[in-house]
Structure formats: structure tokens, C-alpha cells
Symmetry: C2
Subunit: 232 residues, 2 copies
């Protein structure tokens, strides 16, 4: 085994957004992909990103490269995920990829370049290299973090009804959750709070729904063991 | 800014162990470091690791390089942590570091090379490059994971009294926790279970203490929001 040689380093971002529900389709978790126009893997869909610049750190590089595909002001949360370093994961020079998880709120609908689209995670087109694995890995991390952090703040509008929040959780988790349970757990743990306002009634009328907001707009663990809380 | 150049990639492991309490010293969280005999940063203490091999993936590289410093069979848990990629973080060729978190149980006391020692995290010697930051980052992650996973399984002996378990949590967290609360929370959540056996009485006599064990010897999130549990 030889040691000490160098590799290319790339930064790739898995950016998720829940698409709003339509009359004929439920809300869905979607990922931002662009279609490769050149070899290798021409026609396959790839994650936004590229080679780390000589004078860049990883988050700066992720934001710079994302900016070519999407308005980064719409990316509410961006965190380093993992490293993919299998030899031969892409053709040619050895390339090590650092992945980031990015989240865009449901209401945001940033203008995209012509080669770029939101694809439902449940029905991905042909993906380039190991990018499909990266999407699965990021989705698994998102699902785990939904269970012990407030990370859904970055997928939700600033204010939302419980019905919208349930749509977001169901889409992100990939299975049904009960609105009443969701409200009870997230309120008790201080993750969401009522704004005291109500949403305008929909076309069907009915009782106006309370608007909620996330208590924090930064990631935090919401569910520490009480016995392990630091003193003070 | 130039793009497309290459970098060296290294893999570094932050391996923690709780030292057993002694008559004159409490249990302490310690980290495995070796002292650099050569420039750069001669005499400073460094994390075990080195350059990623051409045909290696990251976990294989971490285990291979750890094996030079410590019996890797004693490393009960090893997981990828983060990437450190600031330009200029080490002198010379740009070097990107992937860090791993490794945990060794309290009872294990592996033979170490002469240049290698366990250092209390609360009183580190002069550390090389950005390795001190990596230790802090790893400790923060360990503390966070203690609050929502069963990760303490990898720091504990196979069977332990509640008093030993409290020593481990206090050392790893860096503050006091109450034995009764710890037992109540970890038992209720199915993290630990009684073995039905008791420890031999100590020199002071007294009632024999119940021996507990961790229910799982693999990392899992122990505290999902009940409302978000997948169906079935």
C-alpha cells in the first residue's frame, strides 16, 4: 500500500425541501439535483458542488458552489454531514467528497438554472456516481435529527398551522404522524409555540387554525435526558 | 482562487477512555495522544493517525493507524466525526483531516507504545497543530450523544454497579449527575437493565450492589419523540 499521495477534494450538498401539497399530490420531500451535460456519467443527475478551492474552508466552499444553483439566502440550515472516500468512487483522479445537508423552507421557491430541478426523494432519476447513496444517507440523518432536535424549523415557514407542520413531518419522515401527538410532544418540549394568531380561513371555511412558530431558528437538541442536564 | 488542485488527506482518531477512580483522584475522561519526536511541532502531543492510503476507505485507515498505538480490539466504538480543512491548518502541503471518535471501556488498559499516553482532557499538555480543537470538538459530540443515545455502553465494563456508571457519566460529561436520577432515566428508556446479580461487597462491607448491563452494544438513539416513531 502506498501512503502519502494526494487526492482531489470536493464538496457536495444534499439540499432538501418539502414541496407544498397540491390538490392531486401530497407534500413530498425533494432534493436539488442538476443534470450532467458532459461525460463522465452524462445525463445523470448530480448534487450541486465541486472542487474545494485552495484558500477555502468547507462551509465557504459549499455555499459558494451552491450559489451557482440556488439562492443561498433560501438555505435556512447547512451542516457538514459526512465524507465519502471509497477508492474509485468517481473515475480518474482519486476524489474525496465532503457532503453537507442543506434545508430550504416549504414556502421558498428559489429560481433555478435550466439544468437544475427538485426531484422527489421517493422517485429519483438516474443519479451520478455515488450521489444516490449520499441522498439516502442525508435523508437518514434528517429523519434521525427530526426525532431529537428542532431541525424542522429549517423546513417550515416562519409561521404555520399544525396541518402544515404535519405535512412537513410526514413528507420528511416518509410515514404518517398524528397531528395531535405531534402538537403535544413539540409543545411540551418547547420546540414550537403558538403565536396567538390564526390563519385566514380556507375556501372550505371552518374554524380558523392557530398559527405556530419554532421557538428557535438554530439547531438544538430538544430532548436531553433530564438527568444529564448541566447544572445551573 | 484556483480550483482543481489536490491535497493530502489524513485520518485522525480522538480515542477517549474514563480512567478508574483512585483513592486520591476521581474518575477522569482521558484522551490517547502520542508525543511528536520530529519537526514540525516537535514535543507536542498529537492524535493517532496519518495519511489515507491510496486503496483505503476512511474507517479502514482509522483502524490501521490506530493499531500502531493501541490494541484496536479494545476500541468498542469508532465513528466518523468531522472534517478539518482550514487552509494552513498544518505547515506545508495542504492537508485535510477526517476525524473519528473512538471509545475504550473503563476496564480496558491496553499496552501503549513508549511515546503514547492517556491524558486527562481537563489538563491537556501542549497539543500539535489543531489537535486540541479536535479533542474539544469530539468531547462536545460525546457529551451531546450521551444525552440522546446509549453511547456510554462503549465506555462501561460489560457489567457495572450504578456507582461505577455514575463515575463514567460524571467523568465524560464533566459535571456531577445524581445516581438515582441516572438509574431511573436509563432504566425507563431501556438503555440499561439489571443482570439480577450483585457485585462482591467491597472492603467497607455494606449491602451488595446490583450489577447492570447495557441493553445494546451498538449505538442507537434512545429517546426518539414517541410521536415520530415509525409505524409497526
Amino acid at each position: 500500500m502506498s501512503h502519502g499521495s494526494t487526492a482531489r477534494h470536493e464538496v457536495l450538498s444534499v439540499v432538501f425541501r418539502v414541496s407544498p401539497p397540491a390538490p392531486d399530490a401530497p407534500a413530498e420531500l425533494c432534493v436539488l439535483l442538476w443534470q450532467r451535460a458532459l461525460a463522465p456519467d452524462r445525463g445523470a443527475w448530480a448534487l450541486p458542488g465541486g472542487t474545494l478551492g485552495d484558500d477555502e474552508n468547507l462551509p465557504d466552499s459549499a455555499r459558494r458552489q451552491l450559489a451557482e444553483k440556488v439562492d443561498v439566502r433560501e438555505v435556512r440550515h447547512l451542516e457538514q454531514l459526512s465524507v465519502f472516500a471509497e477508492p474509485g468512487r468517481v473515475p480518474g483522479l482519486r476524489t474525496i467528497a465532503s457532503t453537507f445537508l442543506g434545508l430550504v423552507p416549504l414556502v421558498a421557491d428559489p429560481v433555478l438554472p435550466v439544468d437544475t430541478r427538485w426531484h422527489p426523494v421517493s422517485a429519483l432519476p438516474r443519479t451520478a456516481f455515488d450521489h444516490g447513496t449520499m441522498v439516502s444517507h442525508a435523508r437518514t440523518r434528517l429523519v434521525a435529527k427530526l426525532s431529537y432536535t428542532n431541525i424542522a424549523f429549517a423546513l417550515a415557514p416562519d409561521e404555520f398551522t399544525l396541518s402544515t407542520l404535519r405535512d412537513i413531518y410526514c413528507a420528511a419522515l416518509g410515514y404518517q404522524v398524528d397531528t395531535t401527538n405531534l402538537q403535544r410532544v413539540l409543545t411540551r418540549r418547547g420546540v414550537i409555540a403558538s403565536t396567538g394568531r390564526t390563519a385566514p380561513p380556507g375556501p372550505a371555511g371552518g374554524r380558523p387554525a392557530t398559527l405556530y412558530r419554532f421557538a428557535d431558528a438554530r439547531l438544538r437538541v430538544t430532548d436531553e435526558f433530564a438527568a444529564l442536564k448541566p447544572p445551573g
